[in-house]
Amino acid sequence: MKTLPAVDAVIVGGGWAGLLMAKELASRTSLSIVVLERGPLRGSSEYATDMDELDFYVRLRMMQDLSQETVTLRHDGTKRALPLRQHGAFLPGAGVGGSGEHWNAQVPRFLPDCFELFTKTTTRYGANALPEGHAVRDWGVTYDELEPYYTRVDKLLGSSGQAGNLQGKLIDGGNIFEGWRSEEYPTPPTKVPYVSSLFRDAAKSLGYHPYPAPSANISRSYTNPDGISRGGCTYCGFCNRFGCMVGAKAQPTNLLLPIIQKRKNVSLRTGAWVRRLLFDSASKLARGVSYIDAGGEEVFQPAFLVFLASWTFNNTRLLLLSGIGDAYHPVTGRGTVGRNLTHQVSVSSVNAFFDQPLNRFMGSGSAGFMVSDFDRDDLDRGSLNFIRGGYFAVRGFGFQPIANFGVLPNSVKATWGSEWKKAAISYYDRTGNIIFTGEHLAYKSNYMDLDPVYKDKLGDPLLRLTLNWRDNERNMCDFATSKSVEMARAMGAKEMNPFPGLRSYDTTRYQSTHVQGGTIMGASPEHSVVSPYLQHWQLPNLFILGGSTFPQNGSANPTTTILALAYRTADAIVDRYLKHPGPLG
């Protein structure tokens, strides 16, 4: 294996987390930095000619190529896992920018108590308040500590919205259930799609507190603190699974890459498939990474600092393949790598059919309204058979015809032929839906390890997910569905299809790309892989960024939290680690 010249820092993965770290280090230090990304670099001009539902929304051109590598899944540890042969429940992106290119740019924050979930829940409600078999942990960082970084993230993205809690003062019209914000959103709320306006008015009439969905598809032109200017959203409806053709959607390639490309101390290598992290057990330091380069040659890139930022699955898999740390064992409870796999509960809790046309082709991935009245800690008291909660949203995604033709009330039985066609045309633009997104607690029985049977294109074992829903998620989902039906009725829906309920984890139904855990953060090396500064407990020059560090899933979309944690780590490295390399206290 050829050894390349050493660099100061190597970053595995060119998505949100990896490119944010590259931007921070490159702008604030003179370190030499290499970013390794296995996918391609797209030109921003490609996104206009990519507005094609078939190739992008249906055939998923921006997603990882599963013919090369996928994951396997089983519902419990007694079963044999099967490979996910085609995309389904989650959609990890490929290429520079990662999933941050094709995302919907929904940017809520996690609730303050999410970060201290174990302590807050057991202190308030007793040791038995968490379900049997849970693996819930505190994060080792509090919301108050993270708030300044969340605010930096909002300024980076230019987030559009309305604060509901400014420094503790509750503000009508914003989300009064969220944590305090030190500042108002950088840009005002987006325009409101018609179906979202129905939801807003219905929620208000039921006594709830609807608020404009926080959006990084920005409402008007904005220049961020790095001097990057973007125009406002045009509501073309091509966000979800597309890159933005006007750059109104915050993406790593329009916010971070332009700065990185101007810095001479960073190089971005695409087509680089990282196989192993190398480390020295005597000195207890990571030495660098080995990868197959774009020409097919395996090379070793030595580095003094190593960052893993290659999404939940690959962060976990690379540690397991490299023998770094101990693999988690669900029966003995020993080991930490792979533990606390969670996948946010996300369902279309009701499909609602209206008399009037909704013009659903107009919108953006995040324009709409949300309701967080059931996203609260005190919701679990009383007669409910679950703890925690989630938010409801009606967004104007920009519905496209292949994906949405044929969504029909349950009263229509035909699935093809004249009768079906007539009904499907009639309902096509009269169908709305309420989405519910809820917390997923961590359980001992949900985890990741290496699959003993299936391999990737190079012969390395695939990552194996052992994952299933438990009663807490099923009951939460049933509760959310009943509330959604009430809200849809208040919106004026004439017919409704409620979500049938969570049964076994279904790999074929898209939920969200919010899969977390595997290399979790925490206050002690006994229960976590990285420290609250995302620093590996055993190899202090290794940092792990991304949703793989979440001990469990909040109800909010994860990107702002991923970026806030990465900013905090970047500060700790620049301000302290570089001066005194070693464990950050």
């Binding site: 094609d52 078939l54 055939r59 409101v192 306006s197 073309c236 013009n359 107009m362 044929g406 093809w416």
Partner: protein
């Protein structure tokens, strides 16, 4: 391999730049190049797609949209040969929630499924519907139904949705660059701008996925 344009509706002819145009009835016979199907297979697919999405009083269907030609191109391309699926063994039977776990490519599923519809295109419509009801629960039928919908509503660059008949049917305007002025203006009333295709909007040459290696 080619297919007589007249046999699938007589309206379709594609020039090399993928523009579809109407043929006058008295025009000399035109042959459409096929990439994957045999002529008989294409006739069966066209007939079956037309029962799934018929041309009837509620508007044009899969024949006018050219869905059979769309499906032929899809199967000839990377989608049809499972270019992006994980296809390493072992293959195991699995519950529905694990998705398709078989080893057969989509092309093979079509080819095998079409064997069971021998002579389908020669039947009357009632007999055709009966034949489709018998295979309704098969993966082949699910694919045929899904691909027919795709052929109705895809961008015309893919060979379906000719003249944007599908988009007109449901009021989808195609890739419209801005709805800024309209999104809050048409609350409760239909806003139906004239559909435009991606190449019309961008003026650029679009390279569809089915033409990729």
């Amino acid at each position: 391999m080619t297919l007589s344009a007249a046999t699938i509706g007589g309206v379709l002819v594609y020039s090399l730049d993928r523009k579809a145009s109407l043929l006058p009835a008295q025009h000399k016979p035109v042959r459409i190049p096929l990439r994957f199907f045999t002529e008989t297979e294409a006739l069966i697919v066209a007939a079956a797609a037309s029962r799934i999405f018929p041309s009837d009083e509620s508007g044009p269907g899969s024949r006018e949209a050219g869905a059979a030609i769309f499906i032929d191109r899809q199967l000839a391309g990377p989608y049809g040969r499972d270019r992006f699926r994980y296809t390493q063994p072992p293959f195991e039977d699995a519950p529905r929630e694990f998705g398709y776990q078989g080893s057969a490519t989509l092309r093979q599923i079509y080819r095998d499924g079409l064997k069971g519809l021998d002579g389908f295109h020669l039947l009357d419509t009632a007999a055709q519907d009966e034949a489709l009801r018998k295979i309704e629960s098969t993966l082949f039928f699910a694919l045929l139904r899904q691909n027919t919908i795709e052929g109705m509503f895809c961008d015309p660059v893919h060979g379906g949705n000719v003249d944007m008949v599908g988009w007109q049917l449901v009021g989808f305007p195609g890739p419209r660059m801005s709805n800024y002025d309209e999104i809050e203006k048409y609350y409760g009333q239909a806003f139906r701008p004239r559909p435009v295709s991606l190449s019309q909007v961008t003026g650029a040459k679009i390279r569809p996925g089915e033409d990729e290696p």
